[in-house]
């Protein structure tokens, strides 16, 4: 081949490959042209896995199929966000029609990428007023930049479980309400065993402990993660510094990060009978409303109760707040039966009787105004404490972002360094973290 022809051939090959690749890159596109009264089978993927939860989901589907005899639902449980993400991107006949996620972190990504269909047209078509149905905080975490691509399917509120027997033993009359009280009580409840170990700690503050991720604890300070332009502002947020200081003091009061971390490594799995709160290795414990049902089922050998997590001393009036998140449900962009899929989403998220039944069955907080007021809701006072946390005006959910929970993962990673004492200059570190979050966000935008 003459030399001059080689570059032309190479360019032509690359151009052809590029065209081929961009052609391959088109994911399948669904439609909302289906008739929801015609017989159809739709696929529903969810994350629930324990036998009780799976039974509750299947009972819900039975109720739905009785109301919609033409729609058959094929449910698949224990599905992670990663699996859903990959299935929807790959498309094809096996991809789900209705999807749910246990976290609100990825909603921004689902809405922005168009991976989950916008539900507003469906709501308009079927006369569902979202503002009258769902609390505002929950609507905020299920939408992104005007696209309501998900709806809340029960919510999770976080509070503090505490061991009443340990409190009595230490002469503590009521759960702490402020951070300084928290520190004092945690210290009183801590019982050492040997030089570097413990029999019990008051509160395990380390961020890797079960549900203790920094975003959940940080919610007690009511932080603002982003400014009006969507830029990360953790370094400019005064509460960030107060939060890290309080977390450090909490650890120091109980023997310091290293000893606590070593003790944490002896804990059993969170969802097992070796859970550290259940085995009384920790006396106060940040967790969601589902833990109450688990403690009852495991027949805990001590008396326990629930209270909101303490708040900073200078925000004492906000006591009662907590971190809010929840399961979200939506319709896959690739579904060819989107109207039928909407019928299932509408039933699961907005049908009061269904929401109440499902909330009682799996001990999650109901996510609609009507269900929250329902007399049929489980009357257990410890469960109801979480309803108050959900409805507290100071309670916080994470703001959605274009790249899902990438900023939360970055914050977590940074917080691990801070608690271990590896960040010498907090301000400098936070500035760098802000820059990284902004660079990640920009990179994810088209």
């Amino acid at each position: 081949m003459p030399r001059w022809r080689m570059p032309i051939c190479a360019s032509a090959t690359l151009a052809a490959a590029g065209l081929l690749l961009s052609g391959c890159a088109n994911p399948s596109v669904g439609s909302a042209n289906d008739d929801p009264t015609k017989p159809v089978t739709i696929k529903f993927w969810h994350g629930w896995a324990t036998p009780g939860e799976v039974k509750a989901v299947n009972d819900s589907i039975d109720r739905f199929e009785k109301l919609h005899p033409n729609i058959h639902v094929k449910a698949t449980g224990n599905v992670s966000d990663e699996t859903i993400n990959q299935a929807l991107r790959a498309g094809g006949d096996k991809a789900p029609d209705v999807v749910s996620s246990f976290t609100t972190n990825n909603v921004g990504q689902y809405c922005d990428s168009g991976m989950w269909a916008d539900l507003d047209p469906f709501m308009k078509k079927t006369g569902l007023d979202k503002h009258k149905t769902f609390p505002k905080t929950l609507l905020d975490y299920t939408s992104y930049h005007g696209s309501q691509c998900a709806l809340p399917l029960l919510a999770d509120a976080f509070g503090m479980y505490y061991n009443k027997d340990a409190f009595d033993e230490a002469g503590i009359e009521r759960p702490p309400r402020t951070m300084s009280e928290f520190e004092e009580v945690a210290k009183k409840l801590t019982v050492r065993s040997g030089k570097r170990s413990y029999k019990r700690v008051g509160f395990m503050p380390n961020f890797r402990f079960y549900q203790n991720s920094p975003d959940r604890l940080f919610a007690q300070w009511g932080p603002g993660y982003f400014d009006a332009d969507g830029d990360s502002r953790l370094a400019d947020e005064p509460s960030t510094y107060k939060f890290f200081k309080a977390a450090g003091q909490l650890a120091d009061a109980q023997g310091g990060f290293d000893d606590l971390e070593r003790f944490r490594m002896t804990f059993g799995d969170e969802m097992s009978s070796q859970n550290a709160f259940l085995t009384q290795k920790v006396a106060m414990h940040l967790d969601g409303e589902w833990r109450g049902l688990m403690l009852n089922e495991a027949k805990a050998k001590f008396n326990w109760d629930v209270a909101p997590l303490p708040v900073p001393d200078d925000q004492a009036e906000t006591y009662g707040r907590g971190f809010i998140t929840g399961t979200v449900a939506g319709i896959a962009h690739s579904s060819k039966h989107q109207n039928a899929a909407w019928e299932l989403v509408r039933f699961l998220t907005a049908d009061t009787k269904q929401v109440v039944n499902f909330a009682n069955a799996i001990h999650n907080v109901p996510s609609t105004y009507a269900a929250l007021k329902s007399p049929d809701l489980d009357a257990d006072p410890t469960f109801r404490t979480f309803f108050d946390i959900l409805e507290n005006k100071h309670s916080k959910a994470l703001p959605p972002s274009v790249n899902g929970g990438a900023y939360v993962v970055a914050l977590m990673d940074f917080a691990y360094g801070v608690e271990a004492g590896r960040v010498s200059d907090l301000r400098k570190g936070l500035k760098k973290l802000d820059e990284q979050i902004d660079a990640d966000t920009l990179q994810s935008k088209s």
Partner: protein, 311 residues
């Protein structure tokens, strides 16, 4: 009807016919993915919307704005240098030892080979359990004899060496290869060396080593390529040792503790299939590919040098 082709043309067609299975495999499994990776490294593509051209943005993001790229690359190169070297030395020593054993050789060969058959995930979980600083049997035993055990997978200084230990536990593959090479060395050469008065070290240096050099080189080259792709054990060890609950919705940064076990392949997966940042994932893959190619070519040149020296 037979084609009226001249002899050279027919010969060329026949050659192509014989080559076609390889050509198809090469095109589908190497050329196409490579071209696709280069193409997407210049695109913004979230695997849903149409790809859009962004020039060098993915490249500058990886090299200038991704703080984890440096640690991941350093860890990968550390593992390539240390893990490969330690595995080769240990595998060779074990091979030498086992070929010398007269009684119960079969038992020892089996005992050292069996761990290699354990699935990597199961082996890693078991290892993390054994080395748990708080409740693991290894530290319990060390404590019983008055030694305060390290934090193994939970300490950034010992996490990577713990991975090397784990790789030594599954050394069976290398041991078998070295044993085959060692048993292949002609006995007469040892006898001749002994007659010349060579001791154990001299026999190894002047008889064994030259005979097994190609096999050592093979072990090094395949070890380098495999370690460049090191993913499963590092990911599982980090996740299990961290003790963080990983439910259906949760995402954590791999590399626990302090990014000390983060490797480039883990970063590629995170970028490509968790953040759906396909462009950045492609850039990382290309960097890894370039390094693997360069190191392999260097080793191959070294190998041909060694072999020609032997000739």
């Amino acid at each position: 009807m037979a084609l009226n082709l001249s002899n050279p043309a027919r010969r060329r067609l026949r050659t192509l016919g014989f080559l076609s299975p390889w050509l198809v495999g090469f095109s589908v499994f190497f050329a196409y993915p490579l071209i696709a990776t280069v193409y997407f490294s210049f695109m913004h593509y979230n695997q849903i919307k149409e790809p859009t051209f962004v020039g060098l943005r993915n490249w500058t993001y990886v090299f200038e704005q991704m703080p984890l790229f440096g640690p991941a690359l350093r860890n990968t190169l550390w593992l390539v240098v240390i893990m490969v070297a330690v595995r080769v030395v240990f595998g060779l020593s074990l091979g030498l030892l086992i070929t010398k054993i007269k009684t119960g050789a079969g038992f020892f060969r089996t005992a050292f080979y069996i761990p290699y058959l354990a699935p990597p995930v199961a082996a890693t979980v078991a290892f993390v359990f054994l080395l748990n600083p708080g409740s693991g049997p290894v530290n319990e035993i060390l404590g019983a004899v008055g030694i305060s055990g390290p934090n193994w997978f939970n300490d950034p200084d010992t996490a990577k060496p713990s991975l090397v230990l784990l790789s030594l536990w599954g050394i069976g593959d290398l041991m078998v290869i070295f044993m085959a090479a060692l048993l292949d060395v002609p006995k007469e050469q040892y006898e001749a060396a002994e007659l010349d008065g060579a001791g154990a070290f001299a026999k190894f240096r002047y008889v064994t080593w030259p005979s097994i050099t190609p096999i050592v080189m093979f072990a090094v080259v395949t070890g380098v390529v495999q370690t460049m792709q090191y993913y499963t054990q590092a990911l599982v060890a980090g996740k299990v040792a961290s003790g963080v609950n990983i439910g259906p919705g949760s995402v954590i940064q791999p590399g626990y503790p302090d990014h000390s076990t983060l490797t480039v392949p883990q970063l590629v997966y995170q970028m490509g299939f968790q953040n759906f940042n396909t462009g950045a994932a492609c850039v990382l893959s290309l960097v890894l590919f370039a390094i693997a190619m360069a190191v392999t070519m260097l080793l191959m040149r070294k190998r041909s040098g060694l072999l020609s020296a032997e000739d």
